[in-house]
Symmetry: C2
Subunit: 167 residues, 2 copies
C-alpha cells in the first residue's frame, strides 16, 4: 500500500476512502439485521479481526492466547481439562499446544498421580509473551468499551453468557 513514489497524499486517500464508501451504499441485508445469529457472527468477525491484527506482532492467535490465559490462571491443568474448558477437541489441542511448546511458551510436565496425562504450565518466556499480549488485549477491550459505553459492556457479557449456556 503506497510503497512506491506515493504521489497520492493522505488527504487524497481519505477522499478516496470516503468516495468508495459513499458510492457503495452497502446493500441492505434486510431481515438478517434482526436475526441474532447473523448479527452475532458479524460482530464476532469484526472483533476477532481487531484482536488478530493486534496480536499479529506476537504471532499469537486468539485460541493460543486463551490457552496462555487459562494456564496462567490455573497452572497444572491437563490437556483434556484445557481443551474441554475452551471448547477445543482433544485431538486438535495436541497440535495447538505443540506449537506453544515448540516456541518455548508452555511446557508439558509429568503429572504426579497419572502417568497417562501431563500437567501443563507456562514457561517464563510464556509469561512474558502473555504479559505483552495482555497489554494489547486491554487496548482492544478499551476500544470496544468506547463503542459499547460503560454499562453496555456488562450488559453484553451478561446477555452473551445466557446464549452460551448449553441446555
Amino acid at each position: 500500500m503506497g510503497t512506491d513514489t506515493d504521489k497520492t497524499g493522505a488527504a487524497e486517500e481519505l477522499a478516496a476512502t470516503a468516495a468508495r464508501e459513499a458510492s457503495a451504499p452497502a446493500v441492505d441485508v434486510g431481515p438478517l439485521a434482526g436475526m441474532v445469529g447473523y448479527v452475532l457472527r458479524r460482530a464476532q468477525l469484526a472483533v476477532f479481526d481487531d484482536v488478530i491484527t493486534k496480536f499479529a506482532a506476537l504471532d499469537l492467535r486468539p485460541a493460543q492466547y486463551s490457552v496462555l490465559v487459562l494456564l496462567r490462571h490455573t497452572p497444572g491443568l491437563k490437556q483434556s481439562d484445557v481443551a474441554a474448558a475452551l471448547g477445543i477437541q482433544r485431538a486438535n489441542f495436541v497440535v495447538l499446544f505443540d506449537g506453544l511448546e515448540r516456541r518455548g511458551l508452555a511446557r508439558r510436565s509429568a503429572a504426579p498421580n497419572d502417568r497417562r496425562s501431563y500437567a501443563l504450565y507456562l514457561t517464563e518466556e510464556g509469561e512474558k509473551v502473555l504479559a505483552r499480549a495482555n497489554v494489547l488485549q486491554a487496548a482492544h477491550e478499551a476500544s470496544l468499551d468506547a463503542k459499547l459505553g460503560p454499562s453496555g459492556r456488562e450488559q453484553l457479557l451478561g446477555l452473551l453468557g445466557r446464549l452460551a449456556k448449553r441446555d
Copy 2:
C-alpha cells in the same frame, strides 16, 4: 448409545449424566470470562450449533440461508453485491452460489445493462425451501428469546451492531 440389550434404564442414564456433569465441574476459564471476544465467540458457536442442527434437515448452512434471505429481500442483486453485503469473498461466493444453483434453489440471470454480471434470483423451489427454513429460524429465535427475555434481544442486537461497525 444403548443399541444392545440396554440393561440401563432411563433413570440410570439420567443419574449417569448428572454424575458426569457433577464430577466434571467445568474448569473455570478465569479472566477469559470477562473478555468480550472470548464470550462472543463461545456464544456465536452455541447459537450456530443450534441453527446448524435445525437446518440440517434442509441441508442448508447458515451462509446459504443468508443468501436466500437476501435474494428474497432484494431480488436481482449481482454476485459482488451479495458477497460484499454478507462479508464473503467474491471468489468463495461463486462456489457457494454454484451449490444453490445446482440444487435449483437460485439462478443466475443475464443482467440487463452489464454483460459482465448476473442478476441473481430465487427459484420457486428456493422460495419453498426458504419458507421452510424461516419456520425453523423463527423457532430458533424464539428459543433465544426464552434465554434473553423480551428486552434482552433488542439490547443484544443494539450492542452487537455497534461492535460490527468498521471504523
